[in-house]
Amino acid sequence: MKAFEPKIVAFCCHYCALTAADVAGKMGFQIPSNIRIIRVLCTGKVETLHILKAFEAGADGVVVIGCKLGECYFKEGNFRAVKKVERVQSLIEEVGLEGERVNFDFVPGPEPRKFAAILSGMNEKVKSMGPDPLGQ
């Protein structure tokens, strides 16, 4: 039986997150194929609905990766993202999904190792939770 490979969507901000991704790429780090990166200018632009749509489309987990709190290029964007993620956690719990399927995390600057760790961490966590019970 094929091992469960979770479908993960990672909303990454243009500044810290994607810079880290770039450096990671240059260092030879490969982004696993089950993880879809979506670039946003700032995590503050990620809407509640975007995350819900990701689950509707079949994602097993969603992670929003931004700058460290207090270091957002747009000052407050990541604070708002954290709040939105909390909101989505309760919205999906209302539907019967584990709230931990969606998370916010940050990279403190172009830190490729941290970036890679976030992705693999999310991968492991969602794997242990099993496929999204709403899966196709």
């Binding site: 609905l49 509707e56 709403l134």
Partner: protein
């Protein structure tokens, strides 16, 4: 404005779980402002419903629609909307209680072959003001006989827990109401304000018994403006 909150998802789901064609109908007025039933909330609820039905492997169609206001026929008289409602099994109205009822009556008038099933997604609470982002508080209970001129612009009927009309009770403490430290004692606010306005004389005389007839005290109240009718 009218302030409302969305019911829990499980409560809404239980109202519609046996149907397969659902319309989520939002309202662009008060409930948009208090972030309970506007366009974003319609999309979120619809998304949640789809996720929930997927979970139970049900084939359900959830459509989204907005009306600028559900409490006025003019804003509901949209042929596309009416057609969709005709096809649907149930409408989840995200309007306030007024909107839900008015929409029901409206659709019953325009769709005559069968009654329209409409359920409320919100719990309508009060008439209130927006104090800060995400914070609303009741300011008027609609007593029908406004006394604000006598009380320095602060309503004792609404904001006093006992609707007292002759000053604070003995439970007023440090400017707070006895029922909750976070609730301001309305009469404390009133006497301080009247003192500042140098109008304490207004509350010297005994304020007589209130006539509650203009208030919500016996069925639905009605206003007919003959001067406005053709």
């Amino acid at each position: 404005m009218i302030v409302a909150e969305r019911k829990s998802f499980s409560e809404i789901l239980s109202m519609v779980e046996n149907y397969s064609k659902i319309i989520v109908l939002g309202c662009g007025s008060c409930v948009t402002i208090c972030m309970a039933g506007g366009e974003e909330e319609v999309k979120i609820l619809a998304s949640q419903l789809r996720l929930a039905f997927k979970k139970d492997k049900k084939n359900v169609e959830v459509e989204e629609f907005m009306a600028l206001r559900q409490c006025d026929d003019e804003y509901m008289n949209d042929p596309t909307l009416i057609e969709k409602v005709q096809d649907a099994d149930v409408i989840i109205s995200m309007a306030c209680g007024v909107g839900v009822q008015h929409a029901t009556a409206f659709f019953d008038r325009v769709i005559t072959d069968r009654p329209t099933r409409i359920v409320p997604a919100l719990n309508t609470t009060f008439m209130g003001a927006n104090l800060d982002t995400g914070i609303w508080e009741e300011r008027c209970v609609g007593c029908g006989d406004c006394v604000l001129e006598k009380t320095g612009g602060i309503c004792p009927v609404t904001r006093c827990a006992k609707s007292l009309l002759n000053g604070p009770c003995g439970g007023s403490s440090n400017g707070s109401c006895e029922i909750n430290k976070d609730t301001e004692c309305a009469w404390h606010l009133i006497v301080e304000r009247l003192k500042a306005l140098d109008e304490l004389g207004r509350i010297k005389a005994v304020e007589m018994y209130k006539d509650w007839r203009p208030s919500h005290n016996g069925g639905p109240r009605k206003i007919v403006r003959e001067d406005m009718r053709l």
